[in-house]
Amino acid sequence: MRAFIFTLVCVLMSVCKVHSQTNVLEIPIDVKLKNATLEELLLKIESVSDVKFNYVASLLPPNKQKYVFKKVPLAILLSQVLKPHQLTYTLMFGNSIVFSPIQTSRKVGVFSGYVSDVNTGEKLINAFVIDLMTLQSTYTNEDGYYSLSLKEDSIKLMVAYVGYENQYKSVIWSKNQKIDFKLKGNFELDNQRISAYYPVDMKFKSDEFVIHSSTLKKIPMMFGESDVLKSLQLLPGVIAGNDGTIGLNVRGGGNEHNLFLLDDVPIYNPSHIYGFFSIFNSDVVKQVKLLKGGNSARYGGRLSSVIDIRTIDGNKERLKTQLSIGVLSSKISVDGPIDKSKKTTLMFSARRSYLDLFTNLLNIANVFPTNSRYFFYDINAKISHQFSANHHVTISAYTGNDVSFINNEFSIKSPTQNLKEKDRQSIFWGNSLFSIRDYHLLHPKVSAWLNLAITNYEFGNGSEYQYEETKNNRIIENKFENRFVSNINDVITSYNVQYNVNSYLKIKSGLGFTRHTFARNIRSSTNAVNVPDFFESSIQFSFEYSAYSELQLQLRSNFDLNAGVYYAAFVTNNNVFNLPQPRLSINYEPFPKFYLHYAYQRTSQFLHLLTNYSVGLPLDLWLPSTNKALPEFSDLHSTGLKYSGVKGFEFGVESFAKKLYNVIDYKDQSSYLGSETNWEDKITIGNGMARGLEFMVEKTKGKTSGWISYTISKNTRQFNEINQGKPFLYKYDRRHQLSVLINHRFSSQIDCFLSWVYASGARITLPEEIYTVNNGISLSEVFVYGERNKYQMPANHRLDFSFNFKKNKKKYTRIFSAGVYNAYNRLNPFYVIPAFNVEGNRVFKAVSLFPVLPSVNYKIVF
């Protein structure tokens, strides 16, 4: 009978090579047998579950051994006990499992395909794909594609992804086989990381951290606006800038040393509202990846980190609309297929703040009458078209602006007099980008994509004045206009190829070219007599050429290596700068669940940022390297270990040492210019050094999950022309930083996020002396400043929390969120100024901006 069943199974498997299995294999098994045969183990499992095993008894080994499994999924258990005996299994009829011998093929077969969401068709990036029999594994790439080269006849693929149910598929070997996975989202599942059950865990990448949109949207933030960049401030090694801002200082670097990529296109200023919010709309963000060391060789152009943000492609199954109303802004997002074949999808999202409507209300209410207005908006759009299973094209666009202006108007209308006066002062900045990504699967093992993109950052200010008066037939007219616009524009093209040679070796290579355009326009016109219009325009081009190649090599099942080199050449004003940048990353698992990691990277940056020290303010100017301001580069070594042997927990420790070369700063006591004229004379170049230890404990299972991260670091700079050549502490040398993030799931519909952050105070330069000067106009008191960053501001700490209530209605889902920012009203210092106290004595005062701020957000998805 058993032989008959075995034969039947073989026939069935040959007819239907792919068989999807999910439920039974997920059952956690608790078994403890001190001295038992494999058959006894199977009988025991049958007794504690609904599973039935069918096998030929002679296939099983007679010897006895110890079996201890504690809540291990059945699929993993079977793979572990059967593999040593060259056996495999197949699930039949829901709960019947049949054993058969493994037959190793002589040839290698390529198993590849896409991993996507079953409901939306959205491709899932970095999904973990593993063959449970051979334990060979891989991750899906940015297009949700994976490829594994396997020899054995019986292949059991499993795919895991954060917030989704695992999916299993048994496959019979063939030369090339395309196996797509469509995963089902499950909010009951742990949404932080993939569990630590699997024999080959998520590969240990302590330098890399991924936050998925499901987590991102719930982390409590100021005004209830979920913010990509502020979420990253909760991670180890990432030091926040000023309280409430989006500043990221990663492992000793400055905010200007981060490469912000939106769908592979660089963003120069990712800030709204003077650096308090980021431009990334969380409704369309699919995934955020932070790379703070051991970067892939495909990334270049910045010293410290890569913040790789991917947006959704659009729902492939149905049209989905999201409406969201918050305290600060409202959003609308639409995505879905736009043709019947569902090959073309569209994503569109728009967001606008209503601070200006708020100030209008203040005017109406006569509370704080003001003529000033401020608003920002951003629009994301994407069209994806699937030409074939192996070819798709994505066109993305983003535009966003911040506009602040003051309008004054005055008019008189009478029979004898007609007067009109208008005055407008404005400041504006914004990014816009457009990109085309053409992805080809040239072969199951070879994928290639071409990127064409334009990115533009513009900052400007202007003033207009108009006066018209008609009185007693006499016309008086005055008019003048000034406008200053500075922008940086990049035209980017790159071609990338990934070749999965086999399951142990992957090769990635690419070429890139960028044309940077730095432009500045000043226009001044007036109708005054003898005053000609003034127009000045300057434009400068720089060219950046890059090439990279990297190998991802799995030398043993517990040892892998990633080595590569990024080469870049920068051509500007007849100067050529070039620098090869080697990258290396090694991961080793000496004991089960215990991982060691080492990484080295050299990175360079050809663009300098002249900043006024407030993170993200629009007056920042990007400028190319010159003979005086040489390209910046850095060397980073990081080592780490991780332990995931305690169920539901992960522990990580990482150390880093980073040396920065040719970083720029203003010379001692020289001020921010606001113009690039003679900027080279105002700055000096020097070196920086940062060292630190990062700790992280993460709870990944259960209703309560989250992490605690702690960083202790020291960050110094040294310039010949600053501080008499002596090293000094960097402004954001926050020696200690602690973040706690807790997520508790009360039910599938209600959850709560709580975060608490503590950071040592930022460094500050203070005036120490005062004296009086006479400039021929008046006597004035002036300050003499002490050593650079000699003093420290008080520490920052803050508690935020939010509750999210989700309810599925017949035709729509509504999500209501309520939260509190800075719950115990800590007055974190934003800056320090000298001022007089009530007794008339000069003292220092710390100015805080954000007290306790409650917020609500209401969202409808249909």
């Binding site: 005062i770 004296y771 009086t772 400039n775 800056y831 007089f836 954000f850």
Partner: protein, 293 residues
């Protein structure tokens, strides 16, 4: 609704407040501060004081100094009088244009030497002036100034305008004066980023009109539009400055411009007194008066 808005805003601004904090400041070592002017055909006046710790609100004058003037060959010309309040002055002796002077300042601790060269004569003339109406009132005043840069050497200039006016307090009129803001679109006056630091004191170099004549249009708002005030006359101060004076005034204006901006690196005041603060600066001053009837 009004109340909700009102209390929301009040809550926000009450919370966003200033809090006094203490820093353990370094020990203070007082330095000499020098403020002196060498005008053409004018008496000399030099103020000496001592720098104080930032938390001190009063700056102390230095009264025990001895200040002597020397010519370019270090022949002593005179010893300045000490008024006992930190001011050192000449009673009769007047400095001349285009001359090198050395000033020796002797304090209880040490001796300071300062070198300063007074600049050459300035050639300027008001060519035209006109008054504009604004909201029915006379409010905008524009003047055209001709500046003749005769020397091919690098020269530095300063333009200031002082307004003299009568103010009625109901019964009496009081004579008052003030430096006024000067509005201009002139390229030579606005091309440098430092030009935005002060509207009352326009500082510029001759790099765009070296050795040439130039006409400059200058405008002033708000001279006439207060019913309680009446402008009687304007004085237009045009000076040629020494390099030391130009650097000193520019850096002071820059420092004051950024002094309350917590996000900028503090700017340094460029003096010409080694190991001390301040400067002794030379200028050639030309004053013209415009009388309003």
């Amino acid at each position: 609704m009004k109340k909700v808005l009102y209390y929301s805003v009040i809550l926000f601004f009450i919370g966003a407040c200033q809090k006094e904090i203490n820093f353990d400041l370094s020990d203070h070592q007082a330095k000499l501060v020098v403020n002196g002017h060498l005008y053409n055909d004018s008496l000399i006046s030099i103020d000496l004081s001592i720098s104080g710790q930032i938390t001190q609100s009063v700056v102390q004058p230095y009264v025990n100094g001895v200040v002597e003037l020397f010519d370019k060959d270090t022949n002593q010309l005179l010893t300045l009088n000490n008024d006992g309040n930190g001011r050192y002055f000449s009673s009769i002796y007047k400095t001349q244009a285009n001359t090198i002077y050395f000033i020796k300042i002797k304090t209880n601790e040490r001796i300071y030497w300062i070198r300063e060269e007074t600049p050459d004569t300035v050639f300027s003339e008001i060519k035209d002036s006109s008054r504009f109406f604004f909201q029915g009132n006379e409010a905008y005043f524009q003047l055209k100034l001709e500046l003749n840069d005769k020397s091919i050497l690098k020269n530095f200039y300063e333009i200031k305008v002082k307004r003299f006016y009568k103010e009625w307090n109901g019964i009496d009129s009081i004579n008052k004066q003030e430096w006024v803001d000067i509005n201009t679109q002139e390229f030579v006056l606005t091309e440098s980023p430092t030009s935005r630091y002060s509207k009352k004191q326009l500082l510029f170099s001759d790099r765009f009109f070296n050795g040439q004549k130039i006409n400059l249009n200058l405008g002033m708002f708000g001279l006439f539009n207060t019913p309680q005030q009446r402008t009687t006359h304007l004085q237009v101060y045009v000076s040629s400055l020494s390099l030391n004076a130009f650097n000193y005034y520019t850096s002071i204006n820059e420092h004051l411009f950024f002094q309350n901006d917590p996000f900028t690196q503090p700017s340094q005041i460029i003096g010409n007194v080694p190991d001390a603060y301040g400067a002794i600066t030379g200028r050639y001053l030309n004053v013209e008066t415009i009388v309003f009837k």
